[in-house]
Amino acid sequence: MNKDDTKKEMKSSPGFNRRSFLKSVGGGVVVLFTTAPSFSLAEESHAVSAAGADSFNAYLRIGDDGRVTCFTGKIEMGQGIVTSLPQMLADELDVAVEMIDMVMGDTDRCPFDRGTWGSLTTRVFGPELRAAGAQARGILLGLASEKLEVPINRLEVRDGVVFDRSSQSRQITYAALTKGQAIASDMKSPAPVKSASQYKVMGKPLARLDAIEKVTGKAVFTADIRLPGMLIARLLRPTAHGATLNGLDTSAAEAIDGVRVVQDGDLVAVLHEKRHVADRALLVLKPDYSVPKSTLTEDNIHEHLMSMAPAGVPITNGGDLDEGERLAADVIEHTYQDAYVAHAPMEPHVALASWEDGKMTVWASTQSPFGLKSQLVSELGLPEDKVRVMTPFVGGGFGGKGSSPQGVQAARLSRITGRPVQVFWTREDEFFWDQYQPASIIKIRSGLTRAGKPAFWDYRVYFAGARGSEQHYDIPHHRTVAHSRGWNAPPGSHPFATGAWRGPGASSNVFAREQHIDIMAAKAGIDPLEFRLQNCSDPKYIGVLKAAADRFGWKPAAGPSGRGVGVACGIDADTVVASMAEVEVDPKSGQIGVKRVVCAQDMGQVVNPAGATLQMEGCIAMGMGYALTEEQRFRGGEILDLNFHSYGLPLFSTQPHIETILIDSADPEPHGGGEPAIINMGAVIANAVFDATGIRLFELPMTPKRVKEALLNRV
């Protein structure tokens, strides 16, 4: 390491100073590294943008107690990186996993990070963290070489102890090496990382490191933090989105001892030291709202959306559609629809803000602590170095906590009242202010040749976005067009806010594509698995389809076979995934019972197979909801399903038997794992329902009502 390098000032995110960071962490060996902002997928253009291209992205420190601290702007929301990131460092540094401490999502201590979403942590952040580990190991070996007077190439490390291979008694610990040191290294010329054959911890299942805290109630979530003098705020929720507050009678609320009512623009809150008093005060606030007239409901929204559709943007193109039409003996055309689906994390949005000596400190349940910080800076007009966001454990996100308005609400209220303020959304607040998966429409027109081969494919997606819209089959003439990229839509399209929902857009797109492919297979009289294999040459798809078929015990038959089995496949976050399902349909109730789901996934390198499996199972379990039961109902801007009585989350009793397979991949790169296995769930169930009954369900969710209607209309 070049000492001059360490003295050079690195560019950093505003408000962040490298020297002050080194001072604040104390001595030891510290590695800094940067992530280019280009990793963000176009689909994930969150409202919150990167602070700058040269920001550093994470640090690692080895202290003089030999413990390793990993500082990252990423957060833990159940996806398991609090375990998988230490696994990576353990291998690169040759230390035990237990020696690694994680500091996550603290904007004062961790370097800039855009947010935890898009299944990006392992595939983008992971390799960089490993490189930092390798860098630190190299520095420590250099120090050990001097101390032990042994050339580096004779040194080995085991459990944080460096020793001479030819004379093992010549050894020194990392702790002894870092004592009194203050070495900082950047990642300008990164040291080589280990190869897969050298892994001892990575690639092997490891139980969650946060499990003990979480089963004993000790794990700290944002709402669990208490500050002296803290006030609890309850927010006044409009009766509908788009409503105007004409007047507000606060007299009854203010008559309650200790209650404070704050009205700050559109933010109206009642505050008290006790939650139950604040609850009571909110009930006696008398707002006068006028609600704009709207006839929009979940039943006519798709028609409205089509009338609002923005111009299409080509996503892919190949061959010549006119030529394809000429080749086609059969033309198949269908429209598929998806609904507004809530994130509904078990922990609602919550934040605690403390305004003290001109500095705003906010603890928040957020997927983007730095995004919240920049929001606080701009909305409260505060300097960068006077805002700190910290992120304790997050109780589920699924894309819904990329935006964190509750953090800004708490901060505004704290500055106004001069007291620490907790804003903890109720379940009703959560359903009201959620940024829903957008309702969407997908239109597909395709052709089959006389020989039963795909002739052309013409695909248009409206409002779901382009993610997952591309088809992966060998179709000579094809076009995919997206009307809206991502979940953003022209104003007036959606009656309330929409946002990124786990694998944004992909579940809607795969539902349409994989059903349409199935329809083509049935039309051609070919088994749906066979049809896919015949018309796809990508080895990853072939690999996952065959692996799923093996485990499932797939027996070829053209649909509908009456057995109730289905297949679907797709790609998300660069991970290829195939699913098979077995269903039963009760014609009387219209109820779909999913008995079994088998899912095979090729995600390249797998860092923690146990964690990756949990994510797959979680995707399948959660996917049961958007497939069968979850749909927000509304009357204009009024949200009808405000709690779990009527908004149907997946239950224990509706869960299928789940089997997952992680492909031993030929691909050495790690890909995303948090989202892929959810994207097939609508399609695979729809295809299995067709196989059972001969009916096609073109609209999600596949509720008993829709099933009964389709059965009635069955030809």
Partner: protein
């Protein structure tokens, strides 16, 4: 209205002057700082706030403080004996039966109550018994497996 309320909390007698009409959930979380009991819906439909009252699972958000007078309340903080986890907690750890961990305390206490009533609970019994507890991360399969492992152990 403040009132003196006496009850047993995690094995210890408690005598407190408190607003007896507030819900047990906020009383536990805000007054006693036992924050392992989670708010999820406030309407008794998600199970995140489940506690044991005289050994039986109850939704803390639906109970007021008055209703627990002279009864025994166990929260997630009172389940382990020192560092020794309760068998259900241990089974959750061993079976990776959680992700975000927010529904976990309520899930564990519901399972403890279920097993107290039916120590040999079958898989179907467990699915039925936990069906009113919601988990958004989709850890259902692991949770059933964890609870079932405790039921099987009790048989052995």
């Amino acid at each position: 209205m403040k009132k003196l309320v006496q009850f047993t909390l995690n094995g210890k007698p408690v005598k407190l002057d408190t607003e007896a009409d507030q819900s047990l959930l906020w009383f536990l979380r805000d007054d006693l700082e036992l924050t392992g009991t989670k708010y999820g819906c406030g309407a008794g439909v998600c199970g995140a706030c489940t506690v044991l009252v005289d050994g039986t699972a109850q939704r803390a958000c639906l109970l007021d403080v008055q209703s627990i007078a002279n009864r025994k309340v166990t929260t997630i903080e009172g389940l382990a004996e020192g560092d020794k986890l309760h068998p259900v907690q241990q089974a959750f750890v061993e079976n990776d039966a959680l992700q975000c961990g927010y529904c976990t305390p309520g899930m564990i206490l519901s399972a403890v109550s279920l097993l107290a009533e039916n120590p040999n609970a079958s898989e179907a019994d467990i699915i039925d018994g936990l069906d009113d507890n919601l988990c958004r991360c989709g850890a259902h399969k692991r949770i059933v497996k964890a609870v079932r492992s405790v039921a099987l152990d009790s048989k052995a």
